[in-house]
């Protein structure tokens, strides 16, 4: 495989192609919308979704080669491309991958076809725009993972907002207007401050280099700032990422966005977009500002927020009447684990954080897909409207049970591996926080199983549920890869762990040594 890939010079073009293909897809869909204007609505709809699926499948297949072509052990960026963009400002189109971003890119590309299949029948209005927006969204998401220029990163970071805003706002639920605006503005508050910080970093880098640059590598290796400035810049980056993660107390956009978004929106939000936040911490906030990240006060603060998020998210999830909202709060809890793992800063916890990142993508993505399926049949997300449906939809019930177990972190599923690694690694540096975080194993079981019981078990009290139809082949088929991932990662996570291990180790070591070099003390220096 490796030989084949190098024979077609795969790494030289794959990243730009992955970014461009969905953009062309969007254009293609709009062109189709224009060309087929006279056709019957049903035919247009069928063709549009097929076209979208084709594009996303092509994207997924193309991206698969990354698994072989990216060698995690190599220290530099792989599949890197560096082109000039705005020379006057030193802004370049610099992209590249390491083991961490490669797994996230694959998560994105592999999940997207499933997302399309997930909304195969539920989206019927303005389908062309819908799929075009999904494609633009994909460009942004992939762009964030591959960008190695701070401005390029910011641009990619921002362009995700508009498609998601529209997806929630146009195809969403009853309170979609409120939720979409909240989502947009919440995210923007954080990211605009990050913009100022990026500019500041860039101006410092330009001073060092003598010509303008926003290169990630250059800034990483050459820009040294005084501790106070570092703290401020870290704060700006951290706020942007913390909103996206979302960390307590910046999480309140998430339940609304999740609940109101259509299935595809919820899946993408949970599975990929939240990961941008944690990825941002891993790629930018920590390595660029090690002294701030390792500052005991900052670290304690972040770990505390993470742990509050874990327990708080679980407790609030416990009492949600709406299943989507429950899953949303459970995301707050799960992402808290990621943040704990990142800021505990051991190889184990970092690997665990990455594992939870992937797992949450798979499990919560699957949960939202399942909710979407049952919503399509019953048009309600209220837990109380269900009950006892395992009798009429046994396939659905079985899959839901497995996915819930994965979300709870039952051993044998992927969820366990991630949480265990985070906790076992974090205990070395953050014992108290870890113990508090570990209590969530109880709460997670409580909210998930209670909800599960009220949905698929118990007596069937609602006559509307008696006619429910079980999953069809398409739905089963799209769940199968997710179930396989859940079990595979739970039983044999080594291949994935191997891919991220070198990068995680490098990150931990570099942050530790860099922080040791510049002792983090709050001085009354500059600005």
């Amino acid at each position: 495989m490796t030989a084949f890939l190098s024979s077609i010079n795969y790494s030289a073009w794959i990243v730009p192609v992955l970014l461009l293909l969905p953009a062309f897809g969007a254009v293609g869909l709009l062109a189709h919308a224009r060309l087929s204007a006279g056709d019957a609505a049903d035919k247009r709809w069928r063709e549009a979704r097929l076209l979208a699926l084709a594009f996303f499948v092509a994207e997924a297949i193309l991206s698969l080669g990354l698994w072989w072509s990216v060698d995690p052990a190599v220290a530099g960026w792989q599949a890197a491309v560096d082109l000039p963009w705005i020379p006057q400002w030193g802004i370049r189109f610099t992209v590249g991958l390491d083991g961490i971003s490669m797994t996230l890119v694959l998560l994105t590309t592999l999940l997207m076809p499933l997302v399309i299949l997930g909304s195969w029948t539920s989206i019927r209005s303005k389908v062309h725009s819908y799929y075009a927006l999904l494609m633009l969204l994909t460009v942004g998401m992939l762009g964030v993972f591959v960008s190695l220029d701070l401005v390029l990163f910011y641009v990619m970071w921002e362009i995700m907002l508009v498609p998601m805003y529209l997806i929630i706002g146009v195809w969403g639920g009853e309170r979609r207007l409120y939720a979409s605006l909240k989502f947009f503005i919440y995210t923007m508050v954080g990211s605009l401050l990050m913009l100022v910080a990026i500019l500041y970093l860039g101006s410092e880098a330009s001073r060092v280099l003598g010509s303008p640059t926003f290169s990630y590598d250059f800034i990483l290796n050459n820009v040294r700032l005084d501790p106070t400035t570092t703290l401020w810049l870290f704060g700006a980056f951290a706020l942007a990422f913390a909103v996206k993660v979302p960390m307590f107390p910046f999480h309140t956009w998430l339940p609304d966005a999740h609940v109101e978004a259509p299935t595809a929106g919820s899946v993408i939000l949970a599975a990929i977009m939240l990961k941008m936040g944690t990825f941002g911490f891993i790629r930018f906030a920590l390595p660029l500002f090690p002294s701030a990240a390792m500052n005991p006060a900052v670290r304690t603060f972040m770990v505390t927020l993470a742990v509050i998020g874990i327990v708080y998210g679980a407790l609030v999830a416990l009492v949600q009447p709406d299943f989507k909202k429950l899953v949303a709060y459970s995301s707050v809890s799960h992402l808290g684990f990621v943040m704990l793992g990142i800021f505990a800063l051991t190889v184990e916890s970092m690997q665990g954080a990455l594992m939870v990142t992937i797992n949450h993508g798979v499990s919560t993505g699957a949960l939202f897909l399942l909710i979407g399926m049952i919503y399509e049949r019953r048009h309600t997300r209220m837990i109380a409207d269900y009950g006892g449906i395992a009798k009429v939809v046994p396939i659905f019930a079985t899959i839901l049970t497995i996915v819930c177990l994965s979300s709870i972190g039952v051993p044998g599923t992927n969820g366990f591996i991630g949480e265990f690694l985070v906790l076992v690694g974090s205990y070395k540096t953050q014992p108290l926080a870890t113990i508090i975080a570990a209590t969530s194993v109880v709460f997670a079981a409580a909210y998930m199983l209670w909800a599960l019981q009220r949905i698929i078990y118990n007596p069937m009290t609602k006559p509307e549920n008696e006619g429910l139809k079980d999953l069809n082949w398409r739905e089963i088929g799209l769940m199968v890869p997710l179930l396989i991932a859940i079990l595979w990662l739970g039983v044999y996570p080594k291949p994935l762990l191997d891919k991220t291990e070198p990068a995680a180790r490098r990150l931990v070591e570099s942050v530790q040594t860099a922080a040791a070099r510049t002792p983090a003390r709050a001085t009354n220096g500059a600005r």
């Binding site: 400002w89 207007l177 605006l181 500019l199 330009s206 600005r527």
Partner: protein, 504 residues
């Protein structure tokens, strides 16, 4: 070539593009008045005006490529002037193009309306060229008097008349302050030439001179009024709402650009030595304009008023560039002016398209579900809104405009980091109303019984398309505009002499 301005014929040559427009406008005025009022005549004059503007643009472009310069005199011959001219001329062309359709709909028959735009534009070109406070005053008045009339052009509309009256009275009032400021500066320095003032301020250490201080302050009031900076902005929403929409677009872009350009030139050439004095006031003016413009816009339902407050907010953003006092700031200023003008003009063009006779259908609710009936129009409007918001890619060049401003603010010798943060935070507030427009168009259903917007004229459609495409294209590839704005910054002789850092 270097014009010797003391020589009248060379002065004439240096002033040629302006003279072309003025002369042409006078001829057209005669022609316009010659024939009875009719739609056809109005259109014909409009076309002729467009041709005249095209000729002037051509001449300006030609001049701008010749590497001209001049001796010290009443007018400047530099790239900043040509750049400002181009922005204003394009604005005028757009305004006339929009007017030709709009006037038919609103039954505004006088053909002179287009010529008045030309007169206002020649005032702007005078402003762009002015290197003497006398010329500045003259330019401002030439521009303003024409705009007073244009604002009241729709004689059927009481709103139009009221806006015009308000603008006139307050404008004259503010002119009084401006003029008094000029007099005091003249009294303090003994000159009205900008470069001379600049040199004397530095040489004579006028920083603590009360007359100079009060004069500068009053001058700032005058400019503040023209660019609609808070708290001198009160006229703007009313006048913008009352004026015929193409004229509103003209005011929001060309008028603002010209006033700002001369403001900037005065500040760069005459006021560097006063930096200590004006830094804090301009800082606060910028902050107040951003804050007030963006918050009050949240409360607006009328699109024209909303865009008026938005333009007040953008005045605040541009003031950030002025506050930097650097060459980088000037480049950012020009770049932003382009970005803002494109988006603002496009937005007003959409307002015209959605609007109906009697300047109706300007309420936000009239935009509900626009996507389902006029998808491309809705998409274009979203591009304009996102561009005004400063959003990357979908907002095109608007993002880089903000980017440039922020970069200038952070890299200034006296970093405006706090102001930069105020800028981004008020941008967040602005998302509240810009996105609201997008949301109304895309996410609300079309109300029962709402009539579809009438098909727009070719010219109007052309303006919408051109601005939208320009915004998006320049948003991907802004390098040309960056080079252009960098090459067009005002460089007064004494600044040129000093080795100055290249702007980024």
């Amino acid at each position: 070539m270097n014009y010797e301005l003391a020589n009248p014929s060379q002065l004439m040559q240096a002033f040629a593009p302006d003279l072309l427009l003025m002369g042409g406008a006078m001829v057209l005025m005669l022609w316009a008045a010659w024939r009875p009022e009719s739609n056809e005549h109005q259109r014909a004059v409009g076309k002729a005006s467009l041709a005249l503007i095209a000729a002037t643009i051509g001449m300006t472009l030609w001049y701008s490529t010749r590497g001209l310069s001049s001796s010290l005199g009443v007018i400047a011959v530099d790239n900043f002037r040509w750049a400002t001219d181009l922005i204003c001329l394009l604005g005028a062309a757009g305004a006339i193009a929009l007017s030709m359709d709009y006037n038919v709909r609103e039954r505004i028959l006088p053909a002179e309306s287009h010529v008045l735009v030309l007169f206002a534009t020649s005032g702007m070109m005078v402003l762009a060229a002015a290197r003497d406070l006398m010329i500045v005053f003259l330019g401002i008045e030439l521009m303003s008097v024409a705009i007073y009339v244009l604002a009241g052009l729709n004689r059927r509309s009481e709103k139009s008349a009221e806006g015009s009256l308000k603008y006139f009275l307050l404008g004259a009032f503010a002119t009084g302050f401006l003029l008094y400021g000029v007099a005091l500066i003249y009294g303090a320095t003994g000159s009205t030439n900008l470069v001379e003032i600049g040199e004397r301020v530095v040489r004579g250490n006028f920083i603590g001179h009360p007359m100079m201080l009060v004069g500068t302050g009053l001058l700032l009031v005058g400019f503040g009024f023209k660019v609609a900076a808070a708290p001198f902005h009160m006229w703007a929403p009313d006048v913008y709402e009352g004026a015929p929409t193409p004229i509103t677009a003209f005011m929001a872009t060309a008028v603002k650009a010209a006033a700002f350009a001369t403001f900037l030139r005065v500040w760069i050439e005459a006021m560097p030595g006063m930096g200590e004095a004006w830094f804090a006031p301009i800082w606060w003016l910028a902050a107040l304009a951003m804050f007030l413009g963006n918050t009050v816009a949240l409360a607006q339902r009328n699109m024209k008023r909303l865009l008026a407050y938005s333009s007040i907010a953008h005045t605040g953003y541009l003031l950030v560039a002025v506050a930097t006092g650097t060459l980088g700031g000037s480049a950012a200023f020009l770049f932003y002016l382009v970005a803002y003008s494109l988006a603002s003009f496009g937005a007003f063009a959409v307002v015209i398209t959605v609007g109906r006779e009697g300047d109706a259908n300007n309420d936000l609710s009239d935009y509900e579900g626009l996507w389902s009936v006029r998808p491309w129009l809705a998409i274009a409007m979203s591009v304009f809104m996102l561009s005004l918001m400063g959003f990357p890619v979908f907002g095109g060049i608007g993002f880089f405009g903000k980017w440039y401003l922020l970069m200038a603010a952070i890299e200034a010798p006296r970093p405006l980091t706090t102001l930069a943060i105020v800028l981004v935070l008020t941008s967040v507030v602005s998302a509240g109303y810009y996105l609201n427009v997008v949301r109304v168009m895309f996410m609300k259903p079309r109300p029962e019984g709402a009539r579809d917007p009438e098909p727009a004229g070719a010219l109007t459609r052309g303006v919408v398309l051109a601005t939208a495409v320009a915004i998006l294209a320049l948003g991907i590839m802004p390098t040309r505009v960056i080079s252009w704005s960098r090459g067009s910054i005002p460089r007064p002789p004494h600044v040129q002499a000093a080795a100055v850092d290249a702007p980024r």
